[in-house]
């Protein structure tokens, strides 16, 4: 919303100003927005911009047009020697704004695309994909290849990526690949994957660290799919059990909203509280809410622990609420099972605990989906997340997991991970006793 208001206000500047300095003005506003976060500073920024716009409109005097007479060509000249009065410009601007706002309100559902939704754990998808903030929204899509999808991705990169120069370079590279026929035979998810690969390779070539989120193009599918978490009373806790030799076992297929599942998660953690080692199975966990992942991580430490969240302005606290009263898991060995389907908030959980060397990861490399950008629908079949503001500082040498995933400590096929982790847990539990 903020970005749209800024873009709208910049479009009201005189055309000649925008032609010469439009890009610089946009860059200036992105720079300010990148450094001035929080509601108060953003409001101040918008007020500054509005004031500057009014001053510019009132003081702007366009240069005299250079009239060139071409014989035989009809010509229309402005007869009045006076430029419009400032009051007339102000009144015109106000009237235009009101008309535009009314038009937008009246016709928004049909005319304008949906507002971008922040991806990721906070609003990001159900275990198998993306989710918009409106859980009742339905997406009706049908399978088809769209040869113009690369153009749309490139245009969004140019317009939305927080660093204008890099966005331009990435877009140019994609268009060059397209010109070479790189995407000619690709459709649907294959096309999205190839675009993501090319963006990743290009971003590496221009110096963006591996793992940092840039862009994620998504093929949404060919079916009518509800967007939003299913009403699962188990809060996607598939298994809560204590195995022989007192090994705790939790299988979570998603991190459901804390408003609905905080108590369920707390009871699950209490159920495995007295075990000698814990296995957390995230092999089918495609993400969800970071707050719930942080809640579980809280039981595993005896003091507040930092978990890196790649989303700018994230609502998730940066540290766990450790120690959790009554928890006996802070010094117990923990094994996390992963697969190529482990994504988004589940990767946030795995990455944070791996950086803190708190867990042993058993299984496969994770999906490499941070979902930390703002999401835009490109058409009925494709969408993309894009990094619209600078990413938050990451203190670790590996700057994230986008595209590269998170490597396990014990790399084995996901189907074998449980048995291996169980054997490791039994020996680990013996050592810790």
């Amino acid at each position: 919303m903020f970005d749209r208001v800024v873009a709208f206000l910049l479009r009201l500047y005189p055309e000649e100003f925008r032609r010469v300095y439009g890009r610089d003005a946009l860059q200036l506003m992105w720079d300010r927005a990148g450094h001035e976060r929080g509601a108060r500073l953003r409001v101040r920024l918008l007020m500054d911009l509005t004031r500057d716009l009014v001053v510019t409109l009132l003081t702007w005097s366009p240069p005299a047009p250079e009239l060139v007479r071409i014989d035989g060509t009809p010509r229309f000249d402005i007869l009045t020697p006076h430029r419009p009065r400032p009051e007339a410009i102000a009144a015109g601007t106000l009237a235009s704004t009101l008309m535009l706002a009314s038009f937008a309100l009246l016709f928004q559902p049909r005319v304008f695309p949906p507002a971008p939704a922040q991806l990721g754990e906070g609003s990001g998808g159900p275990p198998s994909g993306f989710e918009a903030s409106d859980s009742n929204q339905q997406v009706v899509v049908s399978a088809s290849g769209d040869p113009s999808i690369v153009d749309m991705v490139a245009a969004t990169l140019k317009e939305r990526y927080y660093d204008f120069a890099i966005g331009q370079q990435l877009a140019d590279a994609l268009l060059a690949f397209q010109k070479d026929g790189h995407y000619k035979l690709l459709r649907d998810a294959e096309l999205a994957d190839r675009i993501n690969d090319d963006v990743y390779q290009t971003s590496r070539a221009i110096g963006i660290p591996p793992g940092q989120f840039v862009v994620d193009v998504v093929f949404i599918g060919d079916r009518t799919a509800p967007i939003g978490p299913p009403g699962d009373p188990s809060c996607m806790l598939r298994t809560i059990e204590t195995l022989p030799r007192n090994i705790g076992h939790l299988a979570l297929d998603g991190f459901m909203p804390p408003s609905r599942c905080q108590d369920t998660v707390r009871r699950a953690m209490q159920a495995v509280n007295n075990t000698n080692a814990l296995i957390i199975d995230l092999r089918a966990n495609g993400g969800g809410m970071g707050e719930t992942a942080l809640q579980i991580a809280g039981y595993l430490f005896d003091r507040p622990a930092y978990l890196f969240d790649p989303r700018p302005n994230t609502p998730v606290p940066s540290h766990t609420a450790s120690p959790v009263q009554g928890s006996r898991l802070a010094d117990k060995p923990v094994y996390v099972l992963t697969s190529a389907r482990t994504a988004s908030a589940a990767e946030y959980f795995v990455y944070g605990l791996k950086m803190l060397k708190r867990v042993t990861i058993v299984g496969e490399r994770t999906a490499g989906k941070m979902h930390s950008g703002a999401f835009h629908r490109l058409d009925d079949h494709f969408g993309m997340g894009v990094q619209e503001v600078p990413p938050p500082d990451n203190p670790y040498p590996v700057k994230g997991w986008e595209h590269i995933g998170i490597d396990p400590d014990v790399a084995i096929p996901a189907g074998d991970a449980f048995e291996i982790a169980r054997a490791l847990a039994e020996s680990g539990a013996r050592r810790s006793r």
Binding site: L10, Y13, E16, F17, V20, Y21, R23, D24, A25, Q27, L28, M29, D31, R32, D48, L49, R51, D52, L53, V55, T56, T59, W60, S61, P62, P63, D163, F164, A165, I166, Q168, I206, G207
Partner: protein, 116 residues
Amino acid sequence: MPKQKLSPLPAAAFQILMSLVDDDLHGYEIMRRVEEQTGGRTRLGPGTLYSSIQALLEAGFIAEVSRPSAEDSADERRRYYRLTGAGRKAGREEAERLADLLRVARAKKILRGEYV
């Protein structure tokens, strides 16, 4: 672009010249430098900033220069500006003019305390 009157230097143009005394800067850096040197009282918006920059360029008081270093690829497409000799002279003359005004105000004892 419209011609902006630069004699006397408008406050925004003067502050921009002062911001460029030490370094070559791009638009956002100029805005930040002006904010710092005015104690946060002046935050130049894009219209004021770039209209002033255009006027200063046309007057020859500043010049657009290439990116100072190749270290930061993110800055590749930004425009950097440098104070010229004429710009330094214009800034000095404006500062002297303001100092004269200040002397008059002091002589009339309308200033309290240790101003400037």
